[in-house]
Symmetry: C2
Amino acid sequence: MNFTLNVLGTASALPTTERYPSAQVLDVRGRLFMIDCGEGAQIRMRKAGISFLKIEHICLSHIHGDHIFGIFGLLSTMGMLGRSSQLNIFAPVSFGPVLDFFMAHFGEGIKFVINFVPLEMSEPEIVYENRTTELLAFPLNHRVKTFGFIIREKMPPLNIRKEAIQEYGLSLSEIGTLKRGEDVVREDSVIASSEITYRKYVPRSYAYCSDTAPFPELAQWVKGVDLMYHEATFPEELSDMAEKTFHSTTVQAARIASEAGVGRLLVGHYSSRYPSVDFFLEELRSVFPESYLAGDMDVVDIPQM
Amino acid sequence: MNFTLNVLGTASALPTTERYPSAQVLDVRGRLFMIDCGEGAQIRMRKAGISFLKIEHICLSHIHGDHIFGIFGLLSTMGMLGRSSQLNIFAPVSFGPVLDFFMAHFGEGIKFVINFVPLEMSEPEIVYENRTTELLAFPLNHRVKTFGFIIREKMPPLNIRKEAIQEYGLSLSEIGTLKRGEDVVREDSVIASSEITYRKYVPRSYAYCSDTAPFPELAQWVKGVDLMYHEATFPEELSDMAEKTFHSTTVQAARIASEAGVGRLLVGHYSSRYPSVDFFLEELRSVFPESYLAGDMDVVDIPQM
């Protein structure tokens, strides 16, 4: 069962030949969540072999061009490919007029339903869920209304180890009790749920935090995720610039990761000032050793355990 | 003095990993004319080493996404790079609301003047000229209002061969007469302008015809251009499809080229049906031998003669 991040673009405002603007696709058990959709995202998707029609959800962090200018082409392409299944778009309220404009001028070929879910929350909220997966959105701290996202597997139900059913001669009612995590109390003994039940897997989780300056609640909100993508537009030497533009530095991103106790930190959204961002890594790892630099077309897998 | 076409994208509606949507930049003596601006054009420009700030004019053929979805990102980038010089945009009237929308939602950083010239003509008209160069627009035959473009050098002035001035003892007034192309009539002789004047170069010309179905006037309008780019969305086997969608086949493009007596025909805007379009070339050359297939990032030079 996949839980795989495809990084399609890691540039900030100005794309380069190597880095396209922000766009990602997270494959959760074969269901695809797109996060941000910078210019050229559909071309990157083709290169990565990602099906346009399998995208079920598009999450847009904010309405700056480098995070959304790819959506016009992508929606048009979905229309031309004959998509019929509903597409959910989670985005700030301000995306409404952008979508209306697109549909009025370029939407002729769009025969599928676009379900636009405007985001307005002031703390994390579940905005979508299916049997196995939840999508949460929460506010970030940028120049315009911006939202981060957490996509995570739900806790799988408790299963009884097969051999225990015979061993203890469990009744259906007792099995139900144990599966709810409660112990079975018999006249002469107690059967502990924790001893004969297990979960099929440990739920995996991913958080996307871009664009944002640091703010007090963030670490708590992304606490313990397996993988966090956080913008690191600037290295420490440009912390003034980061503050002015409501972006983060390497060290700020790493501090959030450390405080939140995430499994791995992945950074991107690099300023185009730096032909190489290799030196970002030292700054990151001085604070949080499990830091990594995202590159365009990187694939990051979180294996099921 | 350059007269050089940079082909940035040759896909039709659906881009592929190899072919981006329509976009070109023609360098005329160091002044850059962009023609169409499909998604990813700014990334292609970077790759081709074309300066964003040197683009003086953007000509948009029609308001279909695959010809214009790159302009939002390109204008934003120009703004972020601090462009201050005026940008002319020649486009169908229907581009007006698109530009207004862009400026209202994403135009904050645009500090340069955008001079939008709406196109409405029913036959070729000069829409811009400078000392050496003319830009003409003319209607094409597509599903929505669409325009083609001719960019051509003006006829350079007549110069007198230096040695002739002394040989004939020409007066200033006689020199003026000869430079106007008129003969000087003296009491005992006639000095023919054609014999002692020359032009520094032969004017070069380029025509862009995409998207369009064939129509009777086109060959006349592009008559004798050195290079014509014409769409060839389909091969002959899909002539029905071409007719239905107001596109052209290889043979139709080649016939226009032949009838117009252009120097070279360059085709593009290929349907994504065909992983290889090599077989288009045979069809083209069976009608017009000087046919060529455009590829993304191709550079076609018309040398000065």
